[in-house]
Symmetry: D2
Subunit: 391 residues, 4 copies
Amino acid sequence: MAPDLRAPVTPEGRRLLSLLRPHLPVLEREAEAHDRAARLPAHLFAQLGKDGVLGATVPAGHGGLGVTSMHDVAVALGEVAKADAGVALALHMQFSRGLTLTYEWRHGPPRSRALADDLLRQMAAGEAVVCGAVKDVGQPTTLTRADGDGYTLTGRKTLVSMAPIATHFVISAQVRENGDPVRLAAPVVPRDSAGLTVEDNWDGMGMRSSGSVDITFDAVPVPESHVLPRGALGEPDDAALAGQTVSSITMLGIYTALAEAARELTVAHVRKRGRAAPAVLTKIAEIDIRLYALRCAVAAALDNADRLSEDHSGDPAERGRAMMTPFQYAKLLVNRHAVDVVDDCLSVVGGAAYTGSHPLSRLYRDVRAGGFMHPYNYAGGVDYLSGQALR
Amino acid sequence: MAPDLRAPVTPEGRRLLSLLRPHLPVLEREAEAHDRAARLPAHLFAQLGKDGVLGATVPAGHGGLGVTSMHDVAVALGEVAKADAGVALALHMQFSRGLTLTYEWRHGPPRSRALADDLLRQMAAGEAVVCGAVKDVGQPTTLTRADGDGYTLTGRKTLVSMAPIATHFVISAQVRENGDPVRLAAPVVPRDSAGLTVEDNWDGMGMRSSGSVDITFDAVPVPESHVLPRGALGEPDDAALAGQTVSSITMLGIYTALAEAARELTVAHVRKRGRAAPAVLTKIAEIDIRLYALRCAVAAALDNADRLSEDHSGDPAERGRAMMTPFQYAKLLVNRHAVDVVDDCLSVVGGAAYTGSHPLSRLYRDVRAGGFMHPYNYAGGVDYLSGQALR
Amino acid sequence: MAPDLRAPVTPEGRRLLSLLRPHLPVLEREAEAHDRAARLPAHLFAQLGKDGVLGATVPAGHGGLGVTSMHDVAVALGEVAKADAGVALALHMQFSRGLTLTYEWRHGPPRSRALADDLLRQMAAGEAVVCGAVKDVGQPTTLTRADGDGYTLTGRKTLVSMAPIATHFVISAQVRENGDPVRLAAPVVPRDSAGLTVEDNWDGMGMRSSGSVDITFDAVPVPESHVLPRGALGEPDDAALAGQTVSSITMLGIYTALAEAARELTVAHVRKRGRAAPAVLTKIAEIDIRLYALRCAVAAALDNADRLSEDHSGDPAERGRAMMTPFQYAKLLVNRHAVDVVDDCLSVVGGAAYTGSHPLSRLYRDVRAGGFMHPYNYAGGVDYLSGQALR
Amino acid sequence: MAPDLRAPVTPEGRRLLSLLRPHLPVLEREAEAHDRAARLPAHLFAQLGKDGVLGATVPAGHGGLGVTSMHDVAVALGEVAKADAGVALALHMQFSRGLTLTYEWRHGPPRSRALADDLLRQMAAGEAVVCGAVKDVGQPTTLTRADGDGYTLTGRKTLVSMAPIATHFVISAQVRENGDPVRLAAPVVPRDSAGLTVEDNWDGMGMRSSGSVDITFDAVPVPESHVLPRGALGEPDDAALAGQTVSSITMLGIYTALAEAARELTVAHVRKRGRAAPAVLTKIAEIDIRLYALRCAVAAALDNADRLSEDHSGDPAERGRAMMTPFQYAKLLVNRHAVDVVDDCLSVVGGAAYTGSHPLSRLYRDVRAGGFMHPYNYAGGVDYLSGQALR
């Protein structure tokens, strides 16, 4: 049966959804206020930690829920997004870290395994809230060798969703050492490290409850044991596309869900109004056609990623491309059509949808974030996909 | 020479533009703050009144600038919109009232002429700021016969841009009297009338500096001399399409300008970045192609309206349709493509454009208002245009 | 695993594909000539009959290949379509008849079973080539009661693909009898029946090798035993949507394959040319994004139809809608985007693609037929889907 | 008043239209037959020659009609295109040559003036039918110095519309001489020159009556007096954009007219059918909106070209860009939306439109030629326009 984003496909995914659902009505009720205040609802995350949700993607052996299906993570994030899209984006950080740290624990070098093992246990216990931080402001964030066996970290990261409540950060950094070629690495830095500041500067057009602030590192000390190794800088490494896919593909569930939420509101509105003009009927059909394409493409890309993430039998570079390519097809579809669908919903509902307190006006702002999610933006996606087509 | 929205075509239009321009830098500087506060910059309108701008479309004989060209009004509103779109929307109210009251003064019945004459003089002197109010909340706003020669007005209007500083309102109302068939009329009501309340409730997704609040009428007394007669309710009256065109067509200048402003920012951004990916080059070409279509179609529709508004030689119903039809072609083009262009600009500029303080994020919210402007929304426009095609 | 239209999912489907493949090179070589001559390649069908392909969807117990998966039928038709789209359309007639007659044999009333049983055996033996004929020219085709136990059939059907070589026709007809309410029925008429004429009038813009001619019935005698009963006229019967889905959904494989064939040609062309302009790179990415959406949506709709066609446990009307709705989502996507993809391929390849002997110019004409396939055309699809959304 | 492609704007343009109109009914009647036979209707051109139409763009002093307005040429070509698009494309060759040879006669070097003077007189007398030939097959067409004062011309040109009846060809060629840098030139070659062969190989998907055959030059002798000088090879010469605009911009009238013809057929069809489904009403409105955009943009680009072609006061490179840029905006709009409009018309009319004898199926094939017209194709247009935006 073709998976269709309408329901989880694993028991663990169903368990996650059942734990999330009781929180959704409150989340939905508070969403407008968090949006206006550009405020991450920290109290909700505290409750999710108690319920075990923050360990959703942590293996059962570590005390987590053991959700490994990216399809199911996307479904869960979608359900949250229908209540509050920014919260779903923040939660994605934790779920995504669970998936990638599980990979480190299973397939990484010994030091990475130990570090991942520790973090995963804390995540399952609701004690660790772990953000990835990728995008630099200005100079690349850099690890330099310090005295002893450690490093110091310097730089500034932006758009670090969930940072206001994070306990740890996994930072994409460059390592500059001894005149060696620059390497990449991912230091894991506790929030209370000396020299680390979490800013309070998130002010997005949408996704305002996601807490996507900047963090700065002013010579933050990092022991060698807390540095996850990555590849060399600038060296093409298609194998790494696999990890990038796992990190980000579940976000497609968020943006698809926003379009579906807009559609539900709109169809309910038209049904209540009782009569529909010809252009409204046409738009409703066109909305549903595109939503079907989104659901099918996103579900297929997730299914593909789920299968390949388990399969290490072939060439790692080929595997990386085989995960990323359908992800990008689906992402570029979502980036365009989720926005188009919400836009059409505004047209159908009319001027009321344009007021700040109408859910459609929030969906309109939130859904536009999809095009800026990593990897890639539109231009990068076109480069990647045309490059694949012409290889 | 084909008019092209790039410059006024009459000396009066050029004079208006020269009076406006000194105010634009301040307006642009303050735009973000007014947007966040959802606040109409009343001080600016006070200055514009002193400079004579609030009488731009009042005949010179009444002390106004005598701008009659809708093309030139659209150009002027576009220039304002590039600095602050909400202010342009508010200013449109006054300019539009100048045009329609001039028509009343020239072609209306005697009582209308006297009323229009008086208001026009006050507008030119910067003493009258006049809003139209069309859209009802709930029941239709209604004039009922009171004792003596007057009426009382009851109802609630919404989306009355510029109302926070208005001195008078021209209200679309129904007249219910003696069991006669319901007639339409437009009472002109001073702001300080007993029973009239200007709410402070504007909270749009965009156009936040336009002051598009609600106003309520609780048995507001209106003397018969202040009621402009309109047609019968429900009676098809294509002649009235002419006045509706004059009232609203100049707004196309606003939305076209917003798309152009987004394009200017974006091209400057790409030029500064120094290199452009293939998809960026493609998008830039596509942006310019659509902007050309918008400018040409809007300019042609304005030119058509300008010519026909002077020409009373033919069948009034035919004239009404001949004004409205190209207006609707141009409006539906603008509603779609101005939004698309701004959306593409966000894609080209990238994540930075998604922050609340970036001008593109304001343009993205502001430009979406176009589809809700009267007449018509998308469904109404399709009804009107398909009806014309199949007459 | 999400099915993806790239390969059959059943052993029977793989067998069908292996039987078809040896014929494809000849078919491709001759395609241009058949296109110019608007000629069904009868010799190919004779060979397919010998190879058992004309019984592909006939149960194994009847001597057929026993393909029941609509997904696999769509994949097979797609492979044929890449060589010659018109032949695939003709072949669809036979495959579709196999599926629906198998349903009659399994679930129909006794008389239908006997008739279906007989036809299925002949199809498997390569002796029966069976067309459906749905679309009337002028008056509805009608069965009227004749003397004895039979009827006479009168009318004219159009767009009967494969008719030039058909041995039997299954005709959608109205039964007018004794002043009873008009019923629907499907008489099965052998080609050599008195009064039946197969015209030689197919002259499509594309799909020229499909032999989609008219057939006329001039008081053709039809024994009662050869009439498959259908519902009442004008009575809404959502249960019948299931059979309509089975009859037509596999055609989606044809139009998706045409878009893929155009893409393959185009990417090969660009690769050979060696350098690609920015707009070409952008178009290639956009082509692949849409093809992914098409493949995913079509595969999902086929998978859904395959599951539901086996499942008679629920409400038949509900089942009918649940089969038709995803089919229509996928069909409207295909109707638009398969055409768009081929159009973009022409733009990338350039003027050479516009000559009559270039495969892209044939694909451009062929692919446009999709929008006219039953059920529904664009307007009908919008009516159906908006109706479902607002039920 | 904004020009709108609905009527000529000069008396000469009106005269041209009045001379053409009597021929249109015959042309329309014969169009299907010429389309099927891929045959240029030579007899019509003979009649047009007698009527003076082949000298439409020749100055009155040379005996021509003296049409200088490109707008009016586009209107005339559009009227012809509604009857037979291929004939309009062929006629464009002659009209375009009249415009560019008039420019040579007015502004060229002495030798060019004499040659142009002679050709223009013959064109006005209906004795010269002059094709331009731009696109090479294989190697560039080349002039090499021969003994005496002449050259020999070798190469092959394709897509030379109207060639079957041409008396002269103006050939874009490279001059290779004495090891000098390669120059460009345009030799004018009579049809009966030794070594010149007009092929009979036109077989387009559409535009089949245009006679767009290949011509080959096998050491064709060309006296120096018959060579119009052009610039250096590869040297950017934006001044030359002016002549390229004049040569090709009037074709926009053809493709816009095809979309309008499709719309007229379609609206008439819907009106006759009596009722229109919601999607049909929506499509009709959308068709008219796009046609308005096309008419306005094409009219504005033509108006711009007409003004600038008369104005030699400024920098020639700037003038070239100022002519080409709006032309390209309008061309890319037309390339996309004229095709889209015809496609939508097919959807509205339904399956009947897909038959070879339906005018919409011819329009569908004809209108697709627009994207291949020089200059530029889509990729070239994007390169040019993005280059202009980022200069």
